[in-house]
Symmetry: C2
Subunit: 140 residues, 2 copies
DNA sequence: CTCTCTGCAAAATTTTTGCACTGCT
DNA sequence: AGCAGTGCAAAAATTTTGCAGAGAG
């Protein structure tokens, strides 16, 4: 999680310009826990930047992902979601309301076993859980 | 993994017709370990059924998935892949050659912990590993 | 002042849908 | 024979790309 200024410096160091749009996209991502899709980002950022385009959202996400500043979340929905928390963590999605929440589990043991069994050199992993969130349980 | 006849009976029991296309799609899936996409399925099945269409592949996968006869694999590529092995297992993808292989790990402990921490009623999980397969390691 | 970036519109991809004809039961 | 299913083409939906003008360094 970088501050606006830290992000600007980092972009410059990597040869990218620190445009207001890029800073706004990243800042919004650091502020929300909603794990938004490109569409949600676009809808929100339009308020501050009425001229904001999908193009810019997607291109910005491409750069942020390349620089390892965002995680791409792929729960199997139509669209990708994004998360500014790049620490090793997992996600759980409610099958009723669709919300996505963070989860912090230690998968070191599982990853080692996966490497041993598969003989792959394991470099990354993604773990998604699906179920019913406490609020949707109440309603049922 | 059902035989052709078992699948035909199962489809009938569920009110679906056992068309040659459906049987061929499922049979091909049970024979391969390549975890094919709809496009790969279409390309292969065309040989036996020159008139086979994408429409039929997708509609068939929809039914097979609904009947829990196939797993949908979502490694974050452009397309979904499919697996006729519906037992609880995981997948690992080579980041060099793209192949997807099966992996059988016990995630009961992790799933329980996820339920405890999130307070969700956890119903399912998907775990993907990414790394370099033994063959691609040799080449490097 | 230069060169990257934005924003628009068009393109590319994957998946879904409508509909007339086919063929399973 | 009746009705679900196939296959074609068109539609939907998400993401990518080309390009002219805007703006960051």
């Amino acid at each position: 999680m970088l501050t606006k200024r830290q992000l600007a410096d980092f972009l410059h160091k990597k040869g990218y310009k620190a445009t207001p749009q890029r800073l706004a996209v990243y800042e919004y991502l650091t502020r929300t826990h909603a794990h938004p899709t490109a569409e949600m980002l676009y809808a929100q950022l339009r308020h501050e930047y009425p001229s904001m385009s999908f193009s810019t959202v997607y291109k910005t996400m491409g750069i942020l992902h390349e620089l390892n500043l965002v995680k791409v979340i792929n729960t199997g929905e139509e669209s990708f979601r994004y998360d500014a928390d790049t620490s090793r963590h997992q996600h759980i999605q409610c099958t009723e309301c669709g919300r996505v929440e963070d989860l912090y589990l230690d998968l070191d043991g599982i990853r080692l076993e996966a490497g041993r069994k598969s003989r792959y050199e394991v470099r990354a992993q993604e773990l998604y859980f699906y179920g019913v969130c406490p609020e949707c349980k109440k309603e049922a």
